[in-house]
Symmetry: C2
Subunit: 232 residues, 2 copies
């Protein structure tokens, strides 16, 4: 399963030097793991990533100054294919969500058994994503809650549904920053006709100007709806 080349090269970042040492010893016990670096500073850690190009980075996400999330983002931006596993003392849903959002391939609690950490490293090294089931539950709760608002905004009494097909076209062009002249040109109709449509849109959406119309459209899933007609 693992690649032919020697050991899995691992870099550790944790501002708690005790924990750092502990993890280092733990990993060193594994014959197929090699710790290529260990530091208590996120900034230093990023430099070490550039220098040693490890396969895996284990980073604490609860650090002062440059925090671990920022470190994840910075490392991801290097685009070296480095796989990141977040370590944390807390099973905070928001923290997990943000770490995964930034590209972490795993998230392990410090309180978890060491075997779990080893397992996580193996899984992530094999190209998988590793989230202990307790944490994945939290993740999905958070994930679904954050989309619930979005979808509920999309239905309900949506004023957008009162628009005619032509008005939707016009609104679509408005949401692309066109003025009257631009819309008229693109739809091959006169500017005054566009004005008529736009005024009708304002009435239906109960707004006063184009900016508010565009904001209403964007906040009420207008783009999604139009995409839906093609993609769903």
């Amino acid at each position: 399963m693992r690649e032919f080349r020697g050991k899995l090269r691992i870099l550790l970042i944790d501002d708690n030097s005790d924990h750092l040492r502990g993890v280092k010893e733990l990993i060193s016990l594994e014959s197929n793991f090699e710790v290529v670096g260990a530091t208590t500073s996120a900034n230093l850690g990023i430099n070490l990533v550039k220098k040693y190009r490890p396969d895996i980075v284990l980073t604490d996400v609860n650090m002062p100054e440059k925090d671990g999330l920022q470190a994840i983002q910075d490392i991801e931006r290097l685009e070296l294919g480095t796989k990141i596993i977040a370590l944390s003392g807390y099973d905070d849903a928001d923290l997990i969500f943000r770490a995964m959002k930034l590209g972490a391939k795993g998230y392990v609690l410090k309180t978890m058994a060491s075997a779990q950490l080893i397992h996580a490293i193996d899984e992530v090294a094999a190209g998988k994503v590793y989230l202990p089931s307790v944490l994945s539950s939290r993740f999905f709760d958070y994930f679904q809650r954050s989309f619930k608002e979005e979808t509920s905004a999309m239905d309900a009494e949506n004023l957008l549904s009162y628009l005619t097909a032509r008005e939707e076209e016009v609104l679509d062009l408005l949401t692309q920053g066109n003025n009257y002249k631009g819309i008229a040109g693109k739809l091959f109709i006169s500017e005054t006709t566009v004005k008529t449509h736009v005024n009708n849109i304002f009435q239906k959406l109960q707004v006063n100007d184009r900016t508010q119309a565009v904001l209403y459209a964007l906040n009420n899933g207008f783009a999604n709806k139009r995409r839906a007609k093609l993609a769903v």
Copy 2:
């Protein structure tokens, strides 16, 4: 682990009547499961959910007409606490992502062993989210890719970074649909001053009018940036 009250009440929706029958028999073999309904129609299924209020709904997501995703959304909107497990013949990342987004608590492939389906039902009934590891890998790939664009748009050569603090405030109010008068009132400055700021914003963002400025802001993570200052 399971609650004291009798059996777990399950409803099945699958337009393939053969598969529907197969799953029904499979589940009926389990002494603690009870199939309270089985239908090949999504619309009918939703009505059955209202009528029987099952604990779990297993629904195919590859159906013609009213598709399974729509069914998931409709059932979720009833807010009966019904837990939904999506069934699909395909491990399509986009499909998995959308099903989970809409609130599905599990996703199981039809090709998977029956034991896995039973396990999924148990897990979901216990309040967990169940995604087989193959699928969760796909899910996270998709998830991270969809956020990669967002974050990369947020840095790079972002014209927003040239704005002064005051200009950011003004732009923020613009993205809320305010006109000159509204902004002036909220910032306790004169309308002409607001005009000056807005004009400077246009220059810096290289746009021609407020709508384009608002769109630029929204498309380049302006809201995220502002939120970041508080929340990150």
